[in-house]
């Protein structure tokens, strides 16, 4: 097939497709909205607004709870506790020495042979 024939045929098919689309547009009936159209739109809008409102409230509550918890923990850590605290102001070496009492001098003194 020569190029001229190919383009002529292509042009014919394009025109045919255009005619088909035009006929399709004419054949599609106009769609009339039902009486329930607008109420249903507003119902959906309100439903979405309500769920967004609930989500927002839940998120705010969560943020507040997290802030209160953080403040509580900060206060707990800041205030020194007299008893039962896991934190200590001893130095590392003092803490090691206190934990290894068996290493104290009275046990490691040289043995004196009394002959």
């Amino acid at each position: 097939m020569s190029m001229t024939n190919y383009w002529n045929q292509q042009g014919d098919r394009d025109a045919e497709l255009n005619a088909l689309f035009r006929a399709y547009r004419a054949a599609c009936p106009e769609k009339e909205p039902s009486a329930n159209f607008m109420p249903e739109v507003w119902r959906r809008i309100e439903e979405r607004q309500h769920s967004q409102f609930l989500l927002g409230r839940w998120a705010r509550a969560l943020v507040t709870a997290a802030a209160v918890l953080s403040l509580g923990m900060a206060a707990y850590l800041y205030i020194p506790h007299a008893h039962g605290t896991v934190f200590s102001f001893e130095s590392y070496v003092e803490a090691i020495a206190a934990g290894h009492a068996v290493d104290s001098a009275e046990f490691v003194d040289p043995v004196v042979d009394e002959l």
Binding site: C28, P33, F37, M38, V41, I45, R48
Partner: protein
Amino acid sequence: MLVDFELIKRAQTGESAAFNEVVLAYRKRTLGTIARLISRPEDVEDVAQEVFLRLYFSLDQLRTAEVFEPWLYRLTVNAAYDYLRKHRRRMESRMSDLSEQQVVLADAVAGGRVDHEVRQQRQVRETVDSLLNAVSEADRILLTLKEVEGLSLKELEKIYRVNENALKVRLFRARQRVLKALGPGGKESRGEGKAKAEI
């Protein structure tokens, strides 16, 4: 524009009455576009309501009222995409899938109670629907907007946010795919080309 810019600006500020007027002005056109994009009459209203729902919650993002119509088309196209993706189109409708109106029409056609013009229109719709079913959702939507809705390339540029040349390439390719589905001799590949002969 079916409404003036002032009304859209009022709707943007959250005025319910203004939004109501906008929906009333555009609902028929939107229903028509969706009907041609998804070709399932029973779901057209549902998709249109989804479009207006999205419009309501995204109206504040609209920068100028002048681009409202392309914006609405864009929302319509996106909702149609989502629908088509969810409901993968079947190539052959079964009787159980047809709406009541379609069943009545099918009966009437079979019984020869409708005139020649109605029969012809029905055949055209079936032919083009099956042709558009043979290509992707993207091709279907683009071709429907350009060839059936009659939107210009400038309008499509605003909707798709791509330049004219890119659109021309996409349109050309989409048309080629439809022509391929139409078959070599112009007859539709699945043998449903009888409507075309009557145009």
